[in-house]
Amino acid sequence: MRFRLTDDQRALREGVRELLARCFGREALRAAVRAPGRLDRTLWRTLGEAGFFALRLPEADGGVGLGLPEAVLAFEEAGRALLPGPLVATHLAAGGVPGAARGETVVAAVDGELAEWLDAADVVRGDASGAVPLRSVDPLTPLHRLPGTAAPDPVAGLPAPVAAAPDPVAVLLTAAEQLGTAGRVCELAVQHARAREQFGRPIGAFQAVQHLCADLLVRVETARAAVYAAAVTADPADIAAARLLADEAAVRGARDCLQVHGGMGFTWEADVHLHLKRAWVRERRAGGGTQSEELLAAALAD
């Protein structure tokens, strides 16, 4: 058993991190915040050329030929960097929708009652009829609301159609993005706690702040083990568990990071709110955590 990153996986992670720092650094991030709803096609093609979308396509089909663990590492980096766009939908469309693999086609997907990036997409998967734009809480994720599931037909006596089970790979890649956010907000909190001084010393010397930071790390590391293991086994129950842990690590992590930042955390200028808002968007995907909890509970009682 060698449950740790291989040298190649480390190199891949570093490579993606460097790529994203180059093509989507802090200035690009803040520019994207100032132009909500606009998808940077140049950035999308750069990602495509780098193999972000074609990562798991076989080499024979023009892909990179890597597996789920590598995709998870790449999406973790995307989450860290707050990379915008329908990343998961386009990644999953690679090989199926022409141009998706190379980043020439932007693919969005309907996900229950929500859809991200509908207007910017060239191809929409799923039935987007009746979609209405909403004023998205996340400045980096334009959202549409779709009509809810139809009520049961009392005459036919049939139950309401059950929402299609979400693609486990989509759930896992979202968990990977959440893990990236969780790791990043932990770093931001620790950096701030080291640098910010009050009462004549860094606030990180106060136990109340130290313990918030420690809990941030505990959630990240527990979620990391769950997400990476799910990437190895690809087992739907492992993926459901990974999703719950990663959602918690990202959402609660961003909340605690905001708290550590004090008044600065409440400003538009600090990046913390961008992480929190994105984490909120992601935790709604694929039926939300409830679906994962029910899946795990059902497996337990068998």
Binding site: F3, Q210, C213, A214, A229, T233, E294, L296, A297
Partner: protein, 377 residues
């Protein structure tokens, strides 16, 4: 990232399973919790069986992965817990192996492995808990012996132990970490009084130990005089290694039992309870993966468990309490009945966020040693 085991590891697992299937049915009946001599005999007997089968030293010389497999399989099979052998196998033994002289290793380690001697731990004191380095039990040199006076607390198995790994202050004037010495005190020496300490679960799991001019031969000192703090750190880092493997396996089994019990009596229809159980399943799946992650890291670093164990312990001790709080919800009014399953376990679980470093101390360790935050107060 690879979660599969090597053919050698799988073979170790298969042979262990085979042996457990034969060994467990011939075990004697478990003694009652209050029967200390019975518990001692039972636990030592189990260790002897492990010794005869070649598994006695698995905690010492096997790779972290084999240790994980050993703990996983013994728990799955319902084998006895390490019990009275805990301090010998997992604290004192490893410390002696690392820091003892050749003579001490030859004198003390084989009886531990063969299941002949029980060790206990005399570290904490009434006024030295989380702040262990403030311990005040005094030892003064008198010829070829130390004369020890003071008191110790939380000493499991003191009633039936042969030796005690004991921390004493040998230099009261030195900076506090530098005046401590590690002794292996014989428990049959004059001047030792053991008083059982009843826990909130009603059981006498621990004892207080009062030491009045107890003579400990200088030959029973491990490491140099006044170097006991460093010697102790070797032991403490062992405590947070693979120590919880069996318990995570057990928690996952309990979780399945809870789900089936809830399904059997209609409580399953409550979506809040179902979701809580589902979330706990995610939690323990993750803790199992974190164990495998930490074991893989220990394997890569030469088998030395590090402060990463604090991360695990923080999460695990909380999860275990949440598990038994959920059990209480499944039990309903039965949660108040000490004769129902899980009720005593719920009480015992209250110690998890305290024993072996409170969650507050663990958070400070994580903040300062892993995250590099400035030393707090």
């Amino acid at each position: 990232m690879d979660l599969s085991y090597t053919p050698e590891e799988e073979e170790f697992r298969a042979r262990l399973r085979e042996w457990l299937a034969k060994a467990l049915p011939i075990l004697p009946a478990r003694p009652s919790p209050d029967d200390w001599p019975g518990r001692r005999a039972y636990d030592l007997g189990w260790q002897r069986m492990l010794y005869d089968a070649g598994y006695a030293g698995v905690h010492w010389d096997a790779s972290p992965t084999l240790r994980l497999i050993f703990l996983e399989e013994t728990e799955r099979a319902g084998a006895p817990y390490v019990g009275a052998n805990f301090v010998g196998l997992l604290h004192a033994g490893p410390t002696i192996a690392a820091e003892g002289t050749a003579e001490q290793r030859a004198r003390w380690l084989p009886p531990i492995l063969r299941g002949e001697q029980v060790w206990c731990q005399g570290f904490s004191e009434p006024d030295a808990g989380s702040d262990l380095a403030s311990l005040r039990t005094r030892a003064r040199r008198d010829g070829d012996a130390y004369v020890v006076t003071g008191s110790k607390i939380w000493t499991s198995h003191a009633e039936v132990a042969d030796r005690c790994e004991l921390l004493v202050r040998t230099d009261p004037d030195a900076p506090r970490h530098r005046g401590i010495t590690w002794l292996a005190m014989p428990m049959d020496a004059d001047g030792i009084t053991v008083r059982p300490l009843r826990t909130l679960a009603g059981s006498a799991e621990f004892a207080e130990m009062f030491l009045d001019e107890v003579r400990v031969p200088v030959a029973d000192r491990v490491g140099e005089e006044n170097d006991g703090w460093r010697v102790t750190m070797v032991t403490l880092s062992f405590e947070r290694g693979t120590a919880f493997v069996g318990e995570v396996v057990a928690c996952r089994r309990v979780l399945g039992e809870l789900a089936r019990a809830a399904r059997g009596d209609g409580r399953w229809d409550d979506p809040a309870l179902r979701r809580r159980l589902g979330r706990l399943d995610a939690e323990f799946r993750a803790l199992w993966r974190l164990t495998q992650w930490n074991v893989s890291a220990a394997e890569a670093s030469g088998g030395v468990p590090g402060v990463g164990g604090s991360v695990f312990k923080l999460r695990y001790s909380h999860a275990r309490q949440e598990l038994y709080d959920t059990a209480a919800e499944v039990l309903g009014p039965g949660a108040l009945d000490l004769d129902r399953p899980w009720v005593l376990d719920r009480l015992s679980s209250l110690s998890y966020t305290i024993a072996a470093g409170t969650s507050q101390i663990q958070r400070s360790i994580v903040a300062e040693r892993i995250l590099g935050l400035p030393r707090g107060r």
